[in-house]
């Protein structure tokens, strides 16, 4: 990689790594080790294609898409069928944040109970604030499929979280 391009990549990676990591933590329902691994893999893949990525515009969005697909590919390798994570990593609680600890745990556990693709839809829609169409593009799925997943995931989360989120103040 030529120096100017390498610098450009480094600047991008430093600027995005934090956000990618936070997204990855939500995707993995709080498995911070897996999240680190996914972010490294994502940054690695972008490194290889940086020339094209940087020219194409919106490299940040591209990185997010690569992260999501890397996560899904990992899930697919791990389990042959789409199934929810039963074991919730207990280390989620270790990373002290400023938000309420019990809500944090409850939310991560609820995310962990969603099938991987549904979780990806929720993260893209409600954390990344992407539209249904943008989410569909990122997942290589149809927008109808995304809507179905979204409805299903929201229904499940509502069941799991209604009480906790009911008290959550929406500004």
């Amino acid at each position: 990689m030529r120096q100017a391009r390498a610098d450009e990549y480094a600047e991008f990676a430093v600027a995005r790594a934090g956000h990618l990591y936070r997204s990855a933590c939500l995707l993995t329902a709080g498995d911070t080790h897996l999240a680190e691994d996914l972010v490294q893999e994502t940054l690695g893949r972008i490194y290889v294609r940086w020339g094209r990525v940087s020219r194409a515009g919106n490299p940040a969005g591209y990185a997010q898409t690569v992260l999501t697909r890397t996560f899904l590919a990992h899930q697919r390798r791990r389990s042959s069928t789409e199934r929810a994570t039963d074991a919730i990593p207990d280390r989620a609680a270790d990373d002290g944040g400023h938000s309420d600890l019990s809500l944090r745990l409850t939310l991560l556990q609820a995310l962990g109970r969603l099938p991987a693709k549904d979780r990806a839809v929720v993260v893209l829609r409600y954390w990344e604030d992407r539209s249904v169409e943008e989410t569909a593009d990122a997942l290589n799925a149809s927008s109808a499929a995304v809507r179905t997943r979204c409805t299903r995931a929201l229904g499940r989360l509502r069941e799991l979280l209604a009480e906790d989120l009911g008290e959550y103040a929406t500004p």
């Binding site: 990676a13 697909r69 944040g97």
Partner: protein, 416 residues
């Protein structure tokens, strides 16, 4: 409060909660970036190695395995690149394999002729993998013949690169045949050139065998007395591909591989079982493209996902394929009463659906296949250039029969 309003509020709260909780995660960004860049460099190296691999399988031995750590362990995501040379360990067999044994073995397996310039490295001489080479003259001119042995993780990317035929545009060659032998070993017979750019017309023919037990035997021969810097001495290397195959599959080489100490730091030990690793996008698509009927243009190729967009002149058609392992547990879900079971036990079912519900006139044809070992190949074709756009044509560019033929092709066996 209306249900809709309530739903909106729930979505709003969920979004707020995600933002609050997500922003609570923090990592050492500099470390992530450094590790990401290192992975990128390794990925790039791996791709280059894959390209070079076609012509120079032997040269790759000793660097390949260490580069590939798919999901070996989150605890140490950045293992320092280890090579066989640096990590000789494990308990070698009591008696090392000697260079003399290697030379005698090769001479014994070759047809009658004159042997000269013998050279070999046994397992006692060096921590590097063993090899033997000599100049063989069957009476029609001398040609160099070499055998190298190593361990390899079956099913790994490295193993696949060793036994897949390279892209002709990247590694020009005259012939390449990749097959699976009855014992499950993968064999690649390759006829190409020492210099892919053919600045010198030295021919390099090779046979690479990867057994299910992880033994890699590589035989190469040249139509010159040495790999490089020797004049072309005959029109073709001395052994035919049939003879090469016989030589590479000789059981004795596999026994010799067992003399190589196992390297506990190789990913073989810690990585997920190879059958759990799904094949890469490129290798799946590179297998798919040659199976397509003639007269179809590939106008788009997936990079992160295994799909192609085809055009037969009558409009674009999106084709997606999945190659998966361990799907036996969902056989009942996927293959109902309308499925068919072939004599070898493979289940096949064809499905037809309207594609995306939201798109008028959308057609999706699918053929799903499941081998008895849980290996699944499923292919779908659409009558549009994407999964969600309006149809560009009445039916997909591939017929149901063509989809079936593709999904059942023995070419997929290399991923099993």
């Amino acid at each position: 409060m209306s249900v809709e309003h309530d739903e909106d509020r729930f979505e709003g709260r969920l979004s707020d909660a995600l933002h609050d909780i997500g922003s609570g995660f923090d990592a050492d960004r500099a470390a992530l970036v450094a590790a990401g860049r290192a992975r990128g460099r390794r990925l790039r190296l791996r791709r280059r190695a894959a390209v070079a691999g076609g012509a120079a399988g032997i040269a790759l031995v000793g660097v390949g395995g260490a580069l590939i750590v798919p999901w070996g362990g989150a605890a140490d995501p950045l293992p320092s690149s280890s090579s066989v040379a640096e990590q000789p360990s494990g308990t070698p067999s009591a008696m090392p394999l000697t260079s003399r044994e290697l030379i005698t073995t090769l001479e014994g397996l070759l047809p009658e002729g004159k042997f000269s310039d013998q050279e070999a490295r046994g397992t006692g001489d060096s921590p590097l993998p063993p090899y033997v080479r000599l100049v063989y003259d069957d009476g029609k001119g001398p040609g160099a013949v070499g055998v190298s042995l190593n361990r390899i993780e079956p099913g790994s990317d490295h193993a696949r690169e060793t036994t897949d035929c390279p892209d002709r545009t990247l590694v020009p060659h005259d012939s390449c045949v990749a097959t699976r032998l009855p014992d499950g070993s993968l064999l690649r017979l390759f006829q190409g050139y020492e210099y892919p750019d053919r600045r010198v017309d030295t021919k390099l023919w090779s046979a690479d065998l990867v057994t299910p037990a992880g033994q890699h035997v590589s035989v190469s021969e040249w139509n010159a007395a040495a790999e490089k810097d020797a004049p072309v001495s005959r029109s073709e290397p001395p052994l035919s591909t049939a003879q090469l195959k016989e030589l590479v599959t000789a059981q004795v080489w596999r026994k010799y591989v067992e003399f190589i100490p196992e390297d506990p730091k190789q990913p073989t030990a810690s990585a997920a079982p190879s059958h759990a690793v799904e094949p890469g996008v490129d290798s799946v698509l590179n297998t798919l493209v040659p199976l397509l009927p003639k007269g179809l243009d590939v106008v788009e190729k997936g990079e992160d996902y295994t799909y192609l967009v085809l055009d037969d002149g009558k409009g674009r058609s999106y084709v997606q394929i999945d190659v998966q392992h361990g799907m036996g547990d969902v056989a009942d879900e996927l293959f109902g009463a309308d499925s068919e079971t072939l004599p070898d036990g493979t289940k096949v079912v064809a499905r037809e659906s309207g594609g995306d519900k939201g798109v008028e006139g959308s057609v999706m044809w699918t053929v799903d296949t499941l081998r008895t070992d849980g290996f699944r190949v499923v292919i779908s074709a659409f009558n549009a250039g994407t999964q969600h756009d309006a149809p560009t044509r009445p039916t997909p560019a591939l017929t149901r029969e063509q989809l079936r033929e593709i999904a059942l092709s023995p070419k997929w066996d290399r991923f099993r």
